[in-house]
Amino acid sequence: MTARSDRIAGVAALLIALALAVEARTFTVEFLTDPLGPSALPLFAAALLAGGGLLMALKPEAEPGWPDAAGRARAVVAGLSFLAYAWLLSPLGFVLATALEGAVLARVFGGKILHCVTAGTVISAALYGLFGWALGLPLPVGSLIAGLVS
């Protein structure tokens, strides 16, 4: 049980390095552009990754303190909300999607319902005001919103 994390991460690094090294063998050119070619650095970097990963698996350090079940659940909700945000940004538009995401994250960080509504609204309005309105960054309006307005 002890030191399992380093072993898993080391083996994962080793496998990723091997896969990327195999892929690097396909980087070939018909005519010689330079003596090294395009696969030398990827192969060197993969060797570094594989070597480091192998040593991590062989000489693992003590387990870091991973979060408890509640902490893991919070992280999963937060990670899923990031992906949902990426998915909802185009249809809902920046203002609505950001307000929702801000409220969800405030909840994950232990805010009460009223806190969440405030945090979502203030964050969304402040960021839109600063970046969309004052600095003129092209933030999405949202296809659903645009459809309702027209």
């Binding site: 991460a9 992280a75 185009s90 994250l105 960021l127 600095l135």
Partner: protein, 507 residues
């Protein structure tokens, strides 16, 4: 070269209303992010880079803003270190020894005044060092060919991996990942697509802003989710202005700390952490005859604070004159400069004098602004530490989304950012340093180009890499900095012991 005339021109650039405003904004943002535990300068800089691109800021204005955040954060860092005993980066750990002891003894205002003045002394003295040393280094480096540059970059990698990691094997994993990420996209020599997996968006390469924001800002949000509890309560600040006179006793500590910090800061890889620890321990050996260090000695605050600010300025020298970053934060600054079409190197001072001299002048002004702001207003800044977590971290996350989306309005980038956030979180938990990854991502493509160019010029003869005395000297330095920490295990390991949270690499 007429340095005085150039510096006056620099002040003309720095005193333009826009640039003055950006310097002010930069140091205020820097103070706030440096103070808030776990946000740090690297996140703030990474988040603002795409915004400077999107609003088409000129390179000198962008650098004035981003550098303001970098050195301003060192001031802010000392506030949370002294008041809460929470050093945001490893470079502030020595400040906590005496600074927090002073807070517990009810002398927080004296500690804060000392930190502000020492930071000012360190920052200002090291700007003179920058002005004197950078032109010399640039004139020396102007004869560098691709072989010398390649050796120099290997030195930067070796120094950072040798010094910044507890375990060399973990630094190797991080460097390898960074180098591999740097190869994604079209190979500039042969136009072969590498690791794009059929995604057209990846042909231009992995955007380093997406990687950096994911690895640092998003992973910080995951990290903060671990515990549900709030931090320790903030104590009262007291009247900092009235404490200024008490700091006079520490004036020599500030000057010695500045000198140590500047010299260490110039070396790649060493950075603010080693500078502040070295300044603290050498000051302790030199002046602490009654054994008062660690129990609230004012000189124990002054020396490391002067040192880590001086190191931040010193680190700008290799970045600007050689194009070689020595830390995570300066690697991100290099990425920003390259994105703004400014190529740092020995020719920077000739080609973009407004960038170099404008920055030097603006750092002087910025340090002055920080001192003026920090002495009377430190209480206002400290009030931000009372912000509840449910308002702070959702804001950080939303700001990251805006920044990533501003890069090229791509939803794929938001998904990649989440993935890098998880990777960064796992790496931090496992004690794998993040700085080598950023260095590999930014410096890897440059190192590869220089190596392949020198081998193409020599017709494949590897001897070209060792053909000049400068190159040989750099190879010896690289080998030395890779091996030395292993030989002197105590120095490297003890110094970065507080580095486990991955924030230490922002120094």
């Amino acid at each position: 070269m007429d340095a005085v005339g150039s510096l006056l021109d620099g002040f003309r650039v720095a005193l333009l209303p826009l640039n003055l405003g950006l310097a002010f904004g930069g140091v205020v943002v820097g103070t706030v992010v440096g103070m808030l535990p776990g946000i740090g300068p690297i996140n703030a800089i990474a988040v603002l880079i795409p915004i400077t691109f999107a609003v088409r800021m000129s390179p000198e204005s962008a650098l004035i803003l981003l550098a303001g955040i970098y050195y301003g954060s060192q001031y802010g860092n000392s506030i949370s270190t002294i008041l809460l005993n929470v050093p945001g980066t490893a470079s502030s750990v020595p400040t906590a020894f005496d600074g927090y002891a002073m807070t517990r003894a009810g002398r927080a205002s004296v500690a804060l005044a000392t930190a502000a003045i020492a930071s000012f002394v360190g920052g200002t003295l090291s700007i003179f060092g920058l002005i004197l040393l950078a032109p010399l280094l640039a004139r020396w480096a102007i004869r560098f060919g691709p072989a010398e540059y390649f050796a120099l970059m290997v030195f930067a990698f070796a120094a950072l991996s040798g010094l910044a990691g507890k375990a060399p094997r973990k630094a190797a994993v991080s460097t390898g990942l960074g180098l591999l990420l740097g190869t994604v996209g079209l190979d500039p020599f042969s136009s072969v697509a590498r690791y794009t997996f059929g995604q057209i968006k990846l042909l231009d390469g992995m955007d380093f802003v997406v990687v950096t924001i994911g690895l640092f800002a998003v992973s910080e949000v995951f990290h903060m989710l671990e515990s549900a509890s709030a931090g320790p309560p903030v104590t009262g600040v007291g009247r900092v202005m009235h404490s200024v006179r008490e700091t006079v006793v520490a004036r020599w500590s500030m000057i010695r700390g500045s000198a140590i910090g500047f010299l260490i800061g110039v070396l790649p890889g060493a950075g603010g952490t080693i500078a502040s620890f070295l300044a603290y321990t050498s000051e302790q050996r030199l002046v602490d005859r009654q054994g008062r260090f660690g129990k609230g000695d004012i000189r124990g605050v002054a020396a490391p604070e002067a040192a880590n600010n001086a190191a931040a300025t010193g680190a700008m020298i290799p970045l600007l004159t050689l194009g070689i970053p020595g830390s995570g934060t300066t690697a991100v600054l290099l990425g920003a400069l390259l994105g703004l079409n400014v190529k740092p190197g020995p020719l920077l001072m000739d080609r973009n004098p407004e960038v170099f001299w404008g920055l030097a002048a603006s750092m002087y002004i910025g340090n002055l602004l920080l001192l003026i702001l920090n002495l009377p207003l430190v209480g206002v800044f400290a009030a931000i530490l009372r912000l509840p977590r449910w308002s702070l971290f959702p804001g950080v996350a939303a700001l990251s989304f805006v920044a990533v989306y501003a890069v090229n309005s791509s939803v794929l980038d938001l998904i990649l950012m989440t993935g890098f956030g998880l990777l960064g979180y796992a790496m931090r938990k496992l004690g794998i340093p993040l700085a080598p990854l950023i260095l590999g991502l930014v410096l890897g493509p440059l190192a590869e180009t220089n190596l392949r160019r020198s081998l193409a010029l020599s017709g494949g003869d590897w001897g070209v890499l060792f053909s000049s005395p400068v190159a040989i000297a750099l190879w010896i330095l690289a080998a030395g900095s890779a091996i030395l920490p292993a030989v002197l295990g105590w120095s490297g390991r003890r110094v970065v012991a507080g580095d486990g949270e991955g924030q230490g690499l922002t120094s």
